[in-house]
């Protein structure tokens, strides 16, 4: 018998989950934790990338085609832009997924929108990555 008050029992230490369930790290939805963690990881990665992108845009406002492509062709800028594309698109897919799941209640329409959103944003990310590589390589 556990004598602790219910408010002090930690779900990750107490008896609510068996050891195998805890090791798998899955909740009742079976994949929610992974989604939640990746959303936070991409969010943290986005913090420096956002500042870098804002800083770069300030520097490129008056740049013509030659100056802009020279800037993007530099390895450091190309790598950071590729990381930005992957991180932002990944974070956007996870965020839009939650918004669609929360606000669309028709099951078939929700599935169509979820797949459509992921297809379009993946294509967008691939287009962005291709453009960076074409300029930089």
């Amino acid at each position: 018998m556990n004598t602790k008050p219910a408010s002090l029992i930690k779900w990750h230490k107490g008896g609510f989950k068996n050891p195998m369930a805890r090791a798998r790290g899955l909740g009742s939805a079976h994949d929610g934790v992974h989604h939640w963690i990746i959303q936070r990881v991409t969010a943290i990665a986005s913090i420096p990338l956002t500042f870098w992108l804002a800083w770069s845009i300030i520097g490129l406002v008056h740049a013509d085609y030659a100056a802009a492509t020279t800037w993007l062709a530099q390895p450091c800028n190309a790598i950071l832009m590729l990381l930005t594309m992957v991180t932002f698109v990944w974070h956007a897919i996870l965020g839009c997924q939650v918004v669609i799941e929360d606000y669309l209640h028709s099951e078939w329409f929700k599935i169509v929108k979820l797949i459509g959103m992921k297809v379009v944003l993946t294509a967008l990310g691939v287009a962005g990555v291709f453009a960076v590589l074409k300029v930089a390589l």
Binding site: A29, R40, A43, I44, S46, I47, T50, A54, I57, I58, V61, D64, Y65, A66, A68, T69, L72, M81, M85, F88, V89, A92, G95, C96, V99, E101, H105, E107, L121, L124, A127, G128, F130, A131, V132, K134, V135
Partner: protein, 133 residues
């Protein structure tokens, strides 16, 4: 989550109070705005990729892109998106603190909310001052 959502839609039992019942307060407004700016930024990604594709396509495509973003409508959209970006950044950092269990006392959650809002406005203003000057 899935499958039986239409039970609550069709049955006669009372539902929990919905949006229109609640008084507007900064906590809910900021949370809703965080989502709205996130969706807006997803559309903003299309402009970012347009910029990259214009660089990959050649000088004519790049000039067209520059013409569009320097048009008053383009500048207006860019201003809106830049605020969305800094707002989502600041409230996103606040959400990371909330996720780790910080700022849950009422005065803290209000103070952190106003701090994030002020930081977002300050960052947007500095961004545009740096562009203009």
């Amino acid at each position: 989550m899935a499958g039986n959502t239409n039970i609550s839609e069709t049955s006669e039992r009372p539902l929990s109070p919905h949006l229109q019942i609640y008084k507007w307060q900064i906590t809910m407004a900021m949370s809703i705005m965080h989502r709205a700016t996130g969706v807006a930024l997803t559309f903003g990604l299309f402009i970012l990729v347009w910029w990259l594709l214009a660089m990959a396509s050649g000088p004519e495509a790049y000039d067209l892109f520059r013409k569009c973003v320097s048009h008053p409508v383009g500048v207006f959209v860019a201003m809106g998106l830049s605020f969305c970006m800094f707002y989502h950044l600041c409230t996103g950092i606040r959400h990371l603190f909330l996720d780790s269990g910080k700022f849950f006392k009422i005065p803290e959650i209000y103070a952190s909310g106003y701090t994030a809002l002020v930081c977002a406005i300050a960052l947007t203003a500095s961004f545009w001052l740096a562009i203009v000057f």
